[in-house]
Symmetry: C2
Subunit: 318 residues, 2 copies
C-alpha cells in the first residue's frame, strides 16, 4: 500500500482503517484517481457517489441536473490529474425506473461537454436515488497530490463559494442567485484546464470537492510540505458575499470552507507563466498562496487572513 | 451507438430508452464490459451495484460476505470477456461508517482470490447499504456476447441453481444447505476459466447473473442466431433438487431460471476440445446446447425439456 497521505477528517480515518485492514490487497488508494498502466501512459480511473439527501435534495434540482452534477463531480477527478478523453459508466439506483432516462440525459450531456462519452452502467431499484459515476481517462504524465515542494506557488481556477452559497440559500428557504444555482446544479468540469496545467509543469493538483481548506490539507499531507493560503487572494464570486454575511463570517472564510466548487487547486514551480491559459481554456486562474517547509510539525494547510492564521476544516460527508 | 442487442425484459427496455436518448453521447453500452483501447490490447471495465433488500438481505449474510459477493458479482463481468489482472474500485454507501472496514475485508479478499487488488473507491452515508463495484481488467482479444454462429456448441462452467436454492430457503424461513449458502454468500469469479476459454477459441461468452434463460437470450440477441439448450444436460448441484421440488418444478427448470450463479456460458466452434480446462482451472465444464439459425423470427434462447420447448424468462431487478 502506498500514497495514503490524506488530510484530517472522519471519512479519511475510515479510509486509513480500510487500507490497514486490506494490507497487500489494496494499492494506491487515497488520490483523486487510481492509475493503471496503459500503453506508453496511464489510464486514470475514479468512482464517485452522489446520494439523495446527502449530496443534493430532489427539491433543489431537476433529474437532468442531478445526472449532470453527479457526472461532473466524477469528471472533476480526471481534471485533477490532467487526464483526457473521458469515458463514463453510470450506476443508478432509483425507486422509479421512469426517472432513469432524464437522469442519464444529464450524465450524457456532462460527458459530452468534457469531450467524453458514456460507455456503460448498471440500473438497480432502491429506496433512495443514488448515482455512482465511474470515469476513466488517459494521461501521459502522472500528476498527483503528492508532488508539491517548499517554495512552489499555489494557484486556483475559477471562482469559489458559489455552491455553498446556493446550499445555504436553499436551507434558509430562499431561492439562490442564478449564478449560485448554476454553480451547484451545473458545475463545469475543468478537464481542459487540468490538461493545460499538467502540460505546463504542474507539480501537484487536486479538485476542490471537500472545500479549499480540506483539499489543500490533502496536498500538504501527500507532499510533505505545508500549504499557506492568503484568504484575501481567493477569487470569490460577488454573489457569495450576501450568503457569507448571513452566515456571520468573512466571504473568504465562507468560500474556503465551501465544498463542491469543483475548481482545481494546482501547485507549480516558482516563476510559473500562466500566459495562454485563459485564452485556451476560458477559465480564470489566480495565485493564492505558496508551499512552505514544516520542519517541526505535520504538514498542514494554513489559511492566513490579514497575515494571521485561521483554523478551518473541510467538508466531511459522514 | 453500437452493440445494443439485449434480450427481453423491463430493465433492458429502460437501457434501450437511455441509449436512444443519448444518441452520440453513448457508445458500446449493453455488454458485460465496455472496452477501451489500451496499448496493443483492451482495458475492459464494468460497474455493478448490489443493494440491501434487492440483491441481498442483511440477515442472510455477514458484512464480509456482503462485500465479497458484491465484488465477485462485478469480477464475474471481467471473467465473461476473458480479462485478467483485475483492479477494483468500491463505492460504498452505508448508514454506519463502522461497517465499512468489514465490508471492505470481503471486497479485498474477493479481489485477491481473482489475482487482483483494490485501487480506489468512495465512502458515502445513506439510509440503505449499497455497494457499487467497478472492475477493470486487460485482455488482448475481444470476446463479447455477439460472436456466436449457427452450428456452434454451447457450454457452461460449474453447477447451476444453488444461489436460487439458498434464496428460496431463506424466504421460506429455512437455513439453506451449506453448499447453497456458500454459492450465494461466497461465489467464486471464473476469471481463470474465462481467460482459458478466450484463449481456446471462445466465440461468445456471458456470465450467468440474470439466469441461464435470460443470459442465453442476450447471446442470441447480440449474435443474431438462436440458442437451443437441453435442460437435461444442465449441471445441477444435488442440493438444488429439494428446493425445486418445494417450488413445484423440475430441478433443471428451477436452475435455468435462477439468477446469480456467476458461472460462464460460452459458445465455441464445433469440435471444441476442453482438454486441460479442468486441470488448469479446477472448474467443471459441460456442453448443454447449440446455436441454430432463426431464419424467420427473432433470435431467442429456447429451452428444450425432453425435446419440447419451454417458455422461460430471466431475473429482472426492477
Amino acid at each position: 500500500m502506498s500514497h495514503l497521505d490524506l488530510g484530517r477528517g472522519g471519512e479519511f480515518d475510515t479510509i486509513r482503517q480500510v487500507v490497514a485492514a486490506l494490507g497487500d490487497q489494496a494499492d494506491g488508494i487515497g488520490g483523486d484517481c487510481a492509475f493503471l498502466p496503459c500503453g506508453q501512459g496511464w489510464m486514470a480511473v475514479s468512482t464517485d457517489t452522489s446520494v439523495e439527501g446527502v449530496h443534493f435534495k430532489r427539491e433543489w434540482l431537476s433529474l437532468t441536473e442531478i445526472g449532470w452534477r453527479a457526472a461532473a463531480a466524477a469528471l472533476s477527478d480526471l481534471a485533477a490529474v490532467g487526464a483526457g478523453e473521458p469515458r463514463v459508466l453510470a450506476a443508478i439506483t432509483s425507486p422509479e425506473r421512469s426517472e432513469v432516462v432524464e437522469l442519464m440525459r444529464g450524465v450524457g450531456a456532462a460527458a459530452e461537454a468534457s469531450g467524453g462519452v458514456v460507455v456503460g452502467g448498471d440500473l438497480t431499484r432502491g429506496r433512495d436515488l443514488s448515482l455512482t459515476l465511474t470515469v476513466l481517462g488517459t494521461t501521459g504524465r502522472l500528476v498527483t497530490r503528492g508532488g508539491a515542494q517548499a517554495g512552489d506557488e499555489v494557484w486556483v481556477t475559477g471562482h469559489l463559494g458559489l455552491a455553498r452559497a446556493a446550499v445555504r440559500s436553499w436551507i434558509e428557504g430562499r431561492e439562490p442567485s442564478p449564478a449560485a444555482r448554476t454553480a451547484f446544479a451545473h458545475p463545469e468540469s475543468r478537464l481542459a484546464a487540468g490538461h493545460w496545467l499538467a502540460g505546463h509543469g504542474a507539480r501537484a493538483m487536486i479538485d476542490l470537492s471537500d472545500g479549499l481548506a480540506g483539499d489543500a490539507g490533502h496536498i500538504a499531507g501527500a507532499s510533505g510540505c505545508s500549504v499557506a493560503l492568503e484568504l484575501e487572494r481567493l477569487p470569490i464570486a460577488p454573489e457569495v458575499e450576501a450568503a457569507a454575511i448571513r452566515a456571520g463570517m468573512p466571504p473568504a472564510q465562507f468560500a474556503a470552507l465551501g465544498g463542491e466548487d469543483y475548481e482545481l487547486l494546482v501547485v507549480v514551480p516558482p516563476g510559473f507563466d500562466p500566459t495562454g491559459f485563459g485564452r485556451e481554456t476560458g477559465v480564470p486562474l489566480e495565485r493564492i498562496g505558496r508551499c512552505v517547509e514544516s520542519p517541526n510539525s505535520q504538514p498542514v494547510a494554513v489559511m492566513l487572513l490579514e497575515g494571521r492564521p485561521l483554523v478551518l476544516s473541510g467538508f466531511d460527508h459522514f
